[in-house]
Amino acid sequence: MAWTWFHRLASPPHVYALAARLTPWFAWPAAVCIVAGLYGGLVLAPPDYQQGDGFRIMYVHVPSAWMSLMVYTTMAVAAAIGLIWRMKVAHAVAASCAPIGASFTFVALVTGSLWGEPMWGTYWEWDPRLTSELILLFLYLGYIGLRAGIEDPQRADRASALLAVVGIVNVPIIHYSVVWRNSLHQAPSVMRLAKPAMPLSMLTPLLLMLLGFTLLFGALLLVRLRGEVLARERTASWIREAVEG
């Protein structure tokens, strides 16, 4: 049957074992990409003709901002699957995403602010892009708070999933906020249909950092997922194998 893989992904013992096996395959390539990206971004890439060495903040700001949106999308899709198919593992994925996404949204805001001061002359502006990213942080925090406030795990899963799914409307708003309206923030220079607006020596380290952070998210998610799956199982006999094997 073509759907067996889907059913296997719904099986907690299978997911627990698979996540443990897959973690190093994400963690080590992530480390390699990030180290290479750092070297390329801090040492090899030439200074920008307008921003000098200040543009190097891009190599941490853009991957963090990418994480903030990619993790939220993953969380909302997992939450929707959990709601529709009542799949415990999907809820566990969504719950694992929230702290990772929240922390990188915070990083995107802080590094953006540190980039804004020398280039725009201000740490903060109530601009559409900045404001919608701040709302994203509040969505993550709301999700975490809601989960923490509900004692029954199944009710916490369902209520927080609803919030995650509704909050997804903010993701395209963030992405297009710089295109739709006049924003202080620059328009996309990599994720667009035309050729990226950057020479290869600047672009390559950025792509390495983006790939590295995405793989890092995979590794963090897999570790957290095992914890969340285990916490949702009360009596299953496979737990003995999982914690004692």
């Binding site: 190097r56 570790v223 916490a231």
Partner: protein
């Protein structure tokens, strides 16, 4: 080296940005491992309670 650390005059913005990013990366790794360890400990405790209850019932 001095030139590299100076970041063309942007050192006060570039280095804090990198520091915060990698502090959060490190914290995320520590938090994820701690969360898993806590779940494993709780699961072990639940198993022990079950064994205890079964013994008492027998």
């Amino acid at each position: 080296m001095k030139e590299f650390l100076d970041m063309g005059g942007y050192a006060a913005f570039v280095w804090p940005a990198y520091l915060i990013t990698f502090a959060v990366v490190g914290l995320n790794i520590a938090w994820a491992r701690r969360a898993l360890a806590r779940s494993q400990r709780d699961a072990r405790r639940r198993l022990q309670t079950q064994v205890q209850l079964r013994k008492e019932a027998a």
